[in-house]
């Protein structure tokens, strides 16, 4: 598999320049590498090690520590179903069972067509919308068996391509400069919501910001994603993709209509 592309090497160099010690850029660069191939190929790990003057073993040590890095191929959509306490009480395991049946694979496996990888995960920090799941780290909840089926259909047909990027993409906004310290507080935390009325339940801002798996990494312009909707019928938020200040993963539900 592939080493990093020229463009991604450039991104890696920009990230390295952000830190006093090159090694600090390891995790951000790994996300870049994972965005490239959907998982961390051995060649990519070796290449990242070269860029940071580390050994491949050191990089592998870090990669293997974090659940969000994959050293095996992952389907185009990584479906992560929460079975932690709040989701469990609201039917998380039933949802996981349903997902296994619907996708035809056990948790931890990938469908034969390479479309879906299903995994069971610990708390996604969307307890207010339990049972919840993420697809490529974009939130959906509460999810019923019916809305799950619809969601799978939309994903398979590419209808959610705007909201759910290919696996590995943490953030579609390319960041090449350090963040000013002030951006971590105040208005920047919550992305402006264009269609408040359409959201029956507000996404929990603090929880998603702090606990969202990896969303913090993308917090440059506000990482909160609204992910609700029984129907998972999705409307495109106007202008969401083009505004650099808006997190790409912000997702608006269609209110089941």
């Amino acid at each position: 598999m592939a080493r990093l592309t020229t463009d991604n090497v450039q991104r890696a160099r920009e990230l390295i320049a952000l830190y006093p010690v090159p090694r600090s850029a390891l995790i951000p660069i790994l996300h870049v590498a994972q965005e490239q191939d959907g998982w961390l190929t051995p060649d990519a790990i070796v290449h990242v090690a070269e860029l940071l003057d580390l050994t491949a073993a050191e990089v592998l040590g870090t990669v293997s520590f974090y659940d969000m890095f994959f050293t095996h191929p992952v389907g185009r959509h990584l479906v992560s179903v929460c079975t932690n306490i709040a989701c469990l009480l609201n039917g998380g395991y039933e949802l996981l069972d349903h997902a296994e049946q619907k996708l035809g694979v056990k948790a931890g496996a990938t469908t034969e067509d390479g479309e879906f990888t299903l995994e069971e995960v610990e708390c996604l920090a969307l307890c207010g919308a339990a049972p919840c799941l993420t697809v490529n780290w974009r939130f959906f909840g509460p999810v019923t068996p019916e809305s799950f089926d619809k969601l799978v259909g939309y994903l398979r047909d590419g209808e959610l391509a705007d909201q759910v990027p290919p696996h590995g993409t943490l953030c579609r906004v390319r960041r090449s400069v350090g963040l000013p310290a002030s951006s971590s507080s105040g208005a920047g935390r919550v992305a402006p919501r264009k269609d408040e009325a359409a959201a029956p339940r507000a996404a929990p801002p603090a929880g998603a910001d702090k606990g969202g798996r990896g969303e913090k990494e993308a917090a440059g312009a506000g990482a909160v994603t609204a992910a609700t909707g029984e129907g998972a019928q999705v409307e495109r938020p106007p202008g969401a993709d083009t505004a650099a200040t808006v997190d790409d993963s912000r997702h608006q539900k269609g209110g089941g209509a």
């Binding site: 051995p42 580390l54 073993a57 050191e58 592998l60 040590g61 293997s64 520590f65």
Partner: protein, 911 residues
């Protein structure tokens, strides 16, 4: 860590009610241990950074809210600190920690190599709860898996103490093993296709507190309670690491690194650690061989010695003593080297003697320049490396210097014809054109006028000069490349010696006791004790009866003369010039033309195979004596096993041969020899056998002896041995008791110190070395009026300057790698398997010019030979140069090097 404890002020802490002095910055566990209180531990190692991983060292430390459990390895001492190591709370914590550490540990001690010397076993017995509440199935892994060619890993036994991974990263600088996964899935792992191919991998086995890391050569070979051991010094290279040599029956089974504070800090390289295999080899010479009708056949000692004496006497009778030569001896202990020097110079009467085989430096330069120790280098204001790749040739010196650069912040300046293992730790690495080191040294001292010198840009030279501002720099001096003559490097050293104020030199010569052999006079123009022939003639003529009239030939000239038929009697002392002399063609011609060849060796080599008489010598651990490391540090060798067959120590062979030659060395034991050395050699005055046996000098004595008792930061032996925890009982002087498991039965320091200080007698020839008494006091003897002065070398003879490089040729750079085709490596099966085939390395730019940017097969052409080689692009080789390894098999540099030329130029072509 040892290097944080240099402050002189102390603080007082209270441990279990007893006040104890502690050094600011050190951890409670270390202070308590020095005070005699052993706190159990797994992850803590005094030579590495603390991590607080295992929690075994939990003790109660009083804080603002009263006593609380804290890891003793992670809490620095503070004045007035109160620590409780034995209480119900601590006991409960220890019970709990051990119960958890054993949750997944397989308890397969009966089949585990570590069983019987296992810190987990011992500390579980001493501090554990006795029972576990866990009934669940334990974790299972495939086992053992191989981390490298030398190290196996049993992941089930691992307790995740981080010792091996910290060692690989912090100490060795080869972080090729890492924790993988997390929680109870954690394991030690390499990257899939990158094995733990570190030169220091064996240390991880030694410091592993459980049986998780296993040494492949030792696995299932012996049980700890069956082995016997003796302390000794590894002589595979000249660093002189202290080891415990262990044997079972008549076979060596293992070396364990002992902690010598000024030298090896407990670490060994893998070449040293597994070199015992050659001692056990079936191929060892066990009987004398005499050539009869063209064949070497077994003979008795009497017959062989008679034949050797007859051959040498015949040559001398016909062609004179100048037709005799003695080559080698750099792997002999000091006593043996002295005996052979006395035989060669006193009995045979030849000064054609050289312990180095043209791959070192002129002996006068090595002995005459002001000497530094390893510790001096590690605390110098700046260190200049003008040496071979230390990682390949003197690995543990590399570890020490690397630590000085990384942790100590010592600025390193490297002058090298190509990138080495130390380059990345140097502030500045100047790549000079082969053969032009003196010019670069001159520019460093005097500044530079042009735009470049020796291929180094003026700006780099100017930057490097800034590092050399302070007084007292240390130069690590060796042969950066075997394709440029030692005289060239000596000339560069002379420039540095003259131009850098207060500079001292640490010789980076490779063979085990090469510095000792030079000290003992195994070099042309020298007599024992670093004395020039002219200065010491009267002194030694009195003691020995006679010394040669004129300075003799060095190795290159001996072989040159032999090739011309002017050497009629040649003695090889464990020397294989055909493999080790840089110019193989000359060495082969010399051996075939030398009239009569006697070889004293442990193996039949390409050289000794051509001898007329081969005398089998005892090898490491088969004979006692002393050895001298590159600092001039003299330590004692231990004997553990007996030599194969009728092989004898070299000094006995010398004494017997002297007798057959009609002479008498006047020595009957090692004690005799050392007494004579101590009496006659000015550099060794005061270094008596009882001094070497003294516990205060367990790390050896640096010659010349200054009379000081070394101070050490280590816990006293009494404290360490008072721990009483099974096999974690420390060997006296052990810094990490767990790294020297079961070494409690070892003699405290080499041989027992039985003999009293030698009775001083005048040399047999009647010259009185001076009145007994004050002059014999340590340090003062050098000044004794009658003793000759020691060498001081400052000559600056201009070496041949290299001719300009023509545009189609590449200038050769060569050196050794750790695992090569050397005799000892090749007879140690575990190491022989690691020797890599020779590959040519050239700058990508130069290969690109051949249209071979990716490398591939090339034809190498010189006026000596033409052969095919595998070329690899390597940006570490400067443009216009080319690297070939030395003694790496067919197609090595020895085929093309011309010893007479200042440089060797090669044409590299597409085949």
């Amino acid at each position: 860590m040892a290097d944080t404890t240099s402050q002189t002020d102390t603080v007082t802490i209270t441990v279990d009610g007893e006040p104890m002095a502690a050094r600011p910055g050190e951890m409670v566990i270390a202070a308590a241990e020095r005070g005699g209180v052993y706190i159990p531990r797994f992850c803590y190692h005094p030579r590495m950074r603390p991590v607080g991983m295992c929690r075994m060292c939990l003790v109660e430390v009083k804080g603002p809210r009263g006593f609380a459990l804290q890891p003793a390895c992670f809490i620095p001492v503070a004045d007035g600190q109160e620590v409780v190591t034995r209480s119900a709370k601590v006991k409960k914590a220890q019970d709990g920690v051990l119960e958890f550490l054993l949750v997944n540990h397989p308890l397969d001690c009966p089949v585990c190599d570590k069983g019987g010397e296992c810190p987990l076993q011992d500390q579980t017995l001493a501090y554990g709860p006795g029972e576990t509440r866990f009934v669940e199935e334990k974790r299972h892994w495939a086992k053992p898996i191989s981390l490298s060619a030398l190290v196996y890993l049993d992941r089930e036994r691992c307790i995740q103490c981080d010792r091996c991974t910290r060692f690989a990263d912090e100490v060795a600088g080869d972080p090729l093993i890492e924790f993988k996964g997390r929680g109870d899935h954690i394991e030690i792992a390499t990257f899939p296709d990158q094995p733990f191919a570190s030169y220091f991998s064996g240390n991880t086995v030694q410091i592993c507190p459980v049986g998780a890391l296993l040494s492949r050569p030792y696995r299932f070979k012996a049980r700890p309670w069956d082995v016997e051991q003796v302390e000794s010094t590894c002589t595979m290279c000249a660093v002189g690491c202290r080891v415990a040599v262990q044997s079972s029956g008549s076979e060596l089974t293992r070396y364990i690194g002992l902690d010598s504070d000024p030298v090896n800090h407990g670490w060994l390289c893998d070449k040293g650690r597994y070199s015992y295999e050659y001692v056990n080899s079936e191929e060892r010479l066990s009987h004398p061989l005499v050539r009869k009708a063209g064949e070497l056949v077994e003979a008795s000692w009497g017959e062989a010695l008679e034949a050797a004496a007859r051959g040498l006497q015949g040559a001398r009778a016909v062609h004179g003593a100048a037709s005799l030569a003695v080559l080698g001896g750099a792997r002999l202990p000091n006593e043996d080297a002295y005996a052979w020097a006395k035989l060669a110079k006193g009995v045979l009467g030849t000064d054609n003697v050289d312990a180095q085989l043209g791959d070192g430096l002129p002996a006068e330069a090595v002995l005459g320049l002001p000497r530094a120790t390893i510790d001096d280098a590690c605390s110098a204001p700046a260190v200049v490396l003008l040496a071979p790749d230390l990682k390949e040739e003197l690995p543990v010196l590399y570890l020490r210097l690397r630590a000085a650069a990384v942790a100590g912040g010592v600025p390193f300046l490297e002058l090298t014809p190509r990138r080495t293992g130390m380059s990345k730790y140097c502030r500045t690495s100047l790549a000079y054109r082969p053969g032009e080191a003196p010019a670069l040294a001159r520019a460093l001292v005097d500044g530079i006028s042009g735009s470049e010198v020796a291929g180094v840009p003026a700006a780099s030279v100017a930057a490097a000069r800034e590092l050399l501002g302070a007084e007292g720099a240390v130069v690590v001096l060796g042969r950066p490349s075997l394709a440029e003559p030692g005289e060239s490097i000596a000339a560069a050293a002379a420039v540095l010696a003259g131009g850098l104020p207060g500079v001292r030199f640490l010789p980076a010569l490779r063979r085990g006791n090469v510095l000792g052999a030079l000290d003992m006079g195994l070099a042309p123009g020298l007599l024992p004790g670093r004395v020039a022939l002219a200065d010491g003639r009267a002194w030694f003529a009195g003691a020995w009866g006679a010394v040669p009239e004129a300075r003799g030939l060095d190795a290159a000239d001996i072989l040159g003369a032999a090739a011309q038929g002017r050497i009629q009697g040649l003695v090889l002392l464990g020397a294989d010039p055909v493999a080790d002399f840089p110019d193989h063609q000359l060495a082969r011609a010399a051996l075939s033309s030398a009239g009569f060849v006697v070889s004293v060796d442990t193996f039949l080599t390409e050289s000794s195979g051509q001898a007329d008489v081969v005398l089998p010598a005892a090898a490491f651990a088969e004979r006692a004596g002393t050895t001298t490391n590159l600092e001039g540090r003299i330590t004692r060798l231990g004997q553990k096993i007996v030599p194969p067959g009728v092989a004898r120590p070299d000094w006995m062979i010398a004494a017997e041969l002297a007798f057959h030659l009609g002479g008498d060395l006047g020595v009957e034991s090692l004690e005799d020899i050392w007494q004579e050395v101590e009496r006659l050699a000015p550099s060794h005055a005061g270094i008596t056998r009882s001094l070497l046996a003294d516990r205060d000098h367990r790390d050896g004595v640096v010659a010349p002896f200054d009379g000081r008792v070394p101070t050490t930061s280590r816990p006293p032996a009494e404290a360490a041995t008072a721990t009483g925890v099974g096999s974690t009982t420390a060997v006296p002087g052990a810094v990490d008791p767990m790294s020297t498991p079961g070494v409690d039965a070892v003699e405290t320091h080499g041989l027992p110190a039985t003999e009293v200080a030698p009775a001083e007698t005048a040399p047999s020839g009647g010259i009185d070395p001076g009145p007994e008494g004050e002059e014999r006091q340590v340090g003062a003897a050098v000044a004794t009026s009658a003793a000759p002065p020691m060498l001081a070398w400052s000559s600056e003879h201009g070496p041949q300057s290299p001719p300009p490089l023509d545009g189609y040729a590449l200038r050769l750079v060569s050196g050794r790698s750790l695992y090569d085709q050397g005799t000892l490596v090749q007879h140690a099966p575990s190491l022989a398997a690691l020797a890599a085939p020779p590959r040519l390395r050239a700058n990508p730019y130069d290969l690109e010019r051949l249209g071979m940017g990716q490398g591939g097969q090339v034809r190498v052409r010189s006026n000596r030979a033409t052969f095919l080689a595998d070329a690899v692009p390597d940006a570490g080789v400067p443009r216009g140069s080319v690297w070939l390894p030395f003694n790496a098999g067919e197609g090595s540099a020895g085929e093309v090097v011309d010893a007479a030329a200042p440089v060797t130029d090669l044409r590299v072509e597409t085949p």
